[in-house]
């Protein structure tokens, strides 16, 4: 079990008041998580004590910086069940990771008429890169439909697989509905159909134990900032054979072995995909975030969130006029998306902000999913290791206040 009060004490921002006397109730981790002091300190320590560019420096602090940058990669690899850290490419974020795959793997291996399978619950980051590629290469796209409960319809998925896709790209956990998709089964079926599988793990890796070796994912992508780390750094995991066969994404320093005026040879993995000075301080911070989550234990993180969502769902559902979307608590993460009858999500979020509650209102970068749910927009509350049941009560009270206000 996690000691939530002890955890909260590690996050400086949770001590602030939004306005005098109004403490911050942060319920928007799905957008970005807050950062513990250890992550902030690790990045400060880098800038204060061993800031240097990595890889070719001969002097001590450059070696320290390189060791910290690569040490973080090794810890991240272990965290997701990967033995060989060469399979992890540092990117800017989940979005860049998917764009890298679409640009590099997609342009080399996908041809006119080839099929990509996506789902109806994807974030724009796992839609738009494929829409762009499909337009350029005249590819076909199919979408696994969702059920009324907001879960993937696997029978329809099996039918789509008969169309022999080249790629299945899907979210492990929906950033809107909280639905946790059966990744291992989706990947197994994709492989049987001869396709490779990309897992958008932006919402899964931060919230429950994920073993990419066990899932047998071909590609997986996630961001540091959603798992206590800094913005500006993310991960692309790829199987060695795939990464080796892919042409570089961007050209520049560090991604080359040898350059002549009219030719170059690419560097080894993962540096082939890391052109230019990378986010070094951010990698250090990412490593510290991994250490923090390891000290919590991901099973404990998942158990705490499950407890919160089990507590929160009935609390919100019992409020007259509130409709909650998505699967039952045991099949979802700690993301709750809801509507309040007759009140626009912007008004809900604005009035909740008045009492210090930070929730998100809009389409959460998933416009097609909202069209499917027949909602112009929704309000979303999401939870992490630092959230408490008292905050859930506070949210429920806040929503009742919103309803009173508009009555």
């Amino acid at each position: 079990m996690l000691d939530i009060q002890k955890i909260r004490a590690d996050f400086p921002i949770l001590k602030r008041e939004v306005r005098p006397g109004i403490p911050l109730v942060y319920l928007d981790t799905t957008a970005t998580s807050q950062k513990p002091m250890s992550v902030i300190q690790a990045m400060n320590d880098f800038y204060q004590n061993y800031n240097a560019n990595i890889h070719r420096g001969i002097y001590s602090i450059a070696e320290e910086a390189t060791a910290a940058y690569e040490g973080a990669r090794e810890r991240i690899a272990r965290f997701i069940g990967i033995k060989d850290p060469r399979q992890l490419v540092y990117t800017r974020n989940t979005t860049e990771s998917i764009n890298l795959v679409a640009y590099s793997w997609g342009r080399k291996f996908l041809h006119e008429g080839d099929l990509i399978i996506l789902t109806e619950m994807e974030h724009h980051s796992n839609l738009v890169p494929w829409l762009m590629l499909a337009e350029e290469r005249k590819l076909r796209l199919e979408f696994i439909p969702i059920t009324d409960r907001g879960e993937l319809n696997l029978d329809e998925y099996r039918k789509l697989l008969e169309l022999t896709p080249k790629l299945v790209s899907f979210t492990h956990m929906s950033n809107v509905l909280g639905t946790i998709n059966p990744a291992r089964e989706i990947i197994r079926l994709a492989h049987l159909a001869g396709a490779i599988a990309l897992v958008d793990a932006a919402q899964s890796v931060p919230h429950f134990p994920v073993d990419l070796t066990d899932l047998d994912a071909d590609f997986a992508v996630f961001s540091a900032h959603k798992m206590l780390g800094p913005t500006g750094i993310g991960i692309l995991f790829g199987k060695i054979k795939l990464l080796e066969a892919m042409p570089p994404f961007m050209g520049g320093g560090d991604m080359i072995k040898k350059v002549q005026l009219c030719s170059f040879t690419t560097n080894d993995l993962p540096y082939k995909f890391e052109a230019g000075t990378p986010p070094i301080a951010e990698a250090v911070g990412f490593g510290a975030a991994i250490d923090y989550l390891n000290s919590c234990g991901m099973e404990n993180v998942a158990a705490h969130e499950q407890e919160i969502v089990k507590y929160a769902l009935p609390k919100l559902e019992e409020i007259p006029g509130v409709k909650v979307y998505g699967p039952p608590a045991e099949r979802k993460g700690a993301v709750i998306v809801f509507s309040v009858e007759g009140i626009h999500p912007h008004d809900v979020a604005q009035i909740l902000d008045e009492v210090g509650i930070a929730v998100r209102a809009g389409h959460h970068c998933a416009m097609p999913l909202h069209q499917k749910l027949e909602l112009p927009a929704s309000t979303r509350a999401s939870f992490y290791i630092y959230n408490t049941k008292e905050e859930v009560d506070f949210l429920a009270k806040g929503i009742r206040k919103v309803i009173d206000y508009f009555k």
Binding site: P345, D347, Q350, G362, H363, H370, P376, F406
Partner: protein
């Protein structure tokens, strides 16, 4: 909250005075704010004196966007098209009587954007239309 959701705004949101559609109309235009899913249509009828005789809006959105559109249409009755074209951000804020951050400003200005795109006969409503 008492600032942002002044009684006037809540009142106009709950009981808009200029809501509906006009058929036939002299001008009609629809646009949306894709960020929040708000959509507003504005229909105008001109009088023989070439001034706005009737103006109504329809669609859906948050309290700020709906109240703002309602107050805006009230303010243009009797105005010439040139006067409507000269309206800007400040007129909308004056109608509402509040200060708004950048996100909610978009909500408040949706009605004006639609109105101006309609009277200029443009294909789409642009942010440039509401700048001072």
């Amino acid at each position: 909250m008492d600032d942002l959701y002044r009684e006037l705004i809540i009142e106009r949101y709950k009981n808009p005075q200029f809501k509906g559609t006009l058929d036939p109309h002299d001008y009609s235009f629809t646009d949306e704010n894709p960020l929040c899913g708000d959509e507003i249509r504005i229909d105008l009828r001109m009088g023989e004196d070439q001034r706005v005789k009737e103006a109504v809006f329809s669609g859906h959105g948050c309290a700020i966007s709906q109240a703002s559109a309602d107050l805006l249409l009230e303010s243009i009755i009797g105005k010439t098209l040139d006067e409507v074209k000269s309206l800007n951000k400040q007129n909308v804020l004056d109608n509402l009587g509040i200060e708004l951050g950048p996100v909610r400003l978009k909500c408040a200005l949706l009605g004006l954007k639609v109105l101006k795109a309609g009277v200029y006969g443009l294909g789409e409503a642009s942010d440039d239309l509401v700048e001072d």
